[in-house]
């Protein structure tokens, strides 16, 4: 894949969409083959590769006891990017989570919790987005926001690999679909 391109991974349940994304992240090792980033094996790149990717998995990866702002600030800090409260709030507003920033995540709906996870993409400033079923639990408005965020990311030279059954409605000249067989 080149800069500005996207890949949509589809397939039946159990076809290996999540496994593929986790392999691309480096969370699990492939049975065969290698994953390369800019010509080098991701395992040889180590932490350097981690600075290039953002992964949003099946589970949102947020803490129920923390507020949206706390979740975002801590996640950013752990990734070496320190952001203040106002930056976190701006990212949450951009993803459509307004007036819910200071409520513990456990009190939010599944869709709102997913928006917090997606807000990580905005503060991460990573080149490659790996998104697993990100449109699940999102309403139409949120889906539109996510699509526009991906478009914005691609137009800035980023890459996106998305596992989803939904139509991403992205510019097909810069992307491709990969159907996994069971």
């Amino acid at each position: 894949m080149a800069a500005g391109e996207w890949l949509q991974v589809t397939g039946a349940n159990g076809s290996g969409k999540t496994s593929l994304l986790r392999i691309l992240c480096g969370l699990i090792s492939p049975a065969e083959g290698v994953v390369e980033w800019q010509g080098a094996n991701i395992y040889s790149l180590g932490e350097e590769y981690s600075t290039s990717i953002s992964y949003v998995g099946h589970r949102p990866g947020i803490k129920d006891e923390l507020t949206a702002v706390e979740n975002l600030r801590i996640a950013s800090g752990l990734n070496g990017i320190e952001i203040d409260k106002s930056s976190a709030q701006r990212a949450l507003e951009k993803i459509g989570l307004v007036a819910r920033e200071h409520i513990p995540a456990r009190l939010l709906s599944e869709g709102q919790r997913r928006r917090i996870a997606l807000a990580r993409l905005l503060v991460g400033d990573r080149k490659l987005w790996l998104l697993d079923e990100i449109l699940t639990s999102l309403d139409k408005a949120a889906m539109a926001i996510v699509r526009s965020l991906i478009e914005e990311h691609l137009s800035g030279g980023g890459l996106a690999i998305v596992a989803t059954h939904h139509d991403l409605e992205l510019d097909s000249s810069h992307g491709q679909r990969l159907e996994l067989a069971t």
Binding site: R59, G61, E65, L66, L78
Partner: protein
Amino acid sequence: MLRWIVWRDLLLAWRRRADALSTLFFFVIVASLFPLGIGPETELLRSIGPGVVWVAALLASMLSLGRLFANDYQDGTLEQLLLTPQPLYFVVLGKVVAQWITSELPLICIAPLLGVQFGLSNETLLILIVGLLLGTPVLSLIGSVGAALTLGLRGGSVLVAILVLPLYIPVLIFGAGAVEASVIGQTAASHLYLLAAITVLAVIFAPWATAAALRISIE
């Protein structure tokens, strides 16, 4: 990075105070049952006191091990931690430091009060505190390896106990031995030096082993 992981886990522990309090309560109850069961024989209590306090601390620390990675594993934050651009060694170390502060430090603070129940002198209580300060980080560090290895397994807490308790024995021997040496008027220095040596080794090797175990468990 280390600062953020410690801060995150401390904040979470504060929001889930009942977990830390249950560990402390367990420690107090277990250590207090012995004087009640054995009776008021001062010499007998003084001789068993060090061992009882150490065993109670050891069992109490086991209670918090199950939570060390399990919550992060369930909500997906462990995956995010594994993908941070930092060596996993420091992620593990940060989590262990936070676990020690929230689960072990309160035990150390209350241990002198429990020691008084066993008729331990002020000097002996000081040795008990120093021993716990040196030994409890080892309990957390070794425990983290067991917690990582049993992550996601059914009956993981029992497995952790089976895996980890035998490895706690040297800490128990030297920790309780230091206090016993003080009780009979001998120097506890040698026991404490050995505990310190074990702590140094555990700080070097345990987070590395835990990181490897986490990578296996997450697959």
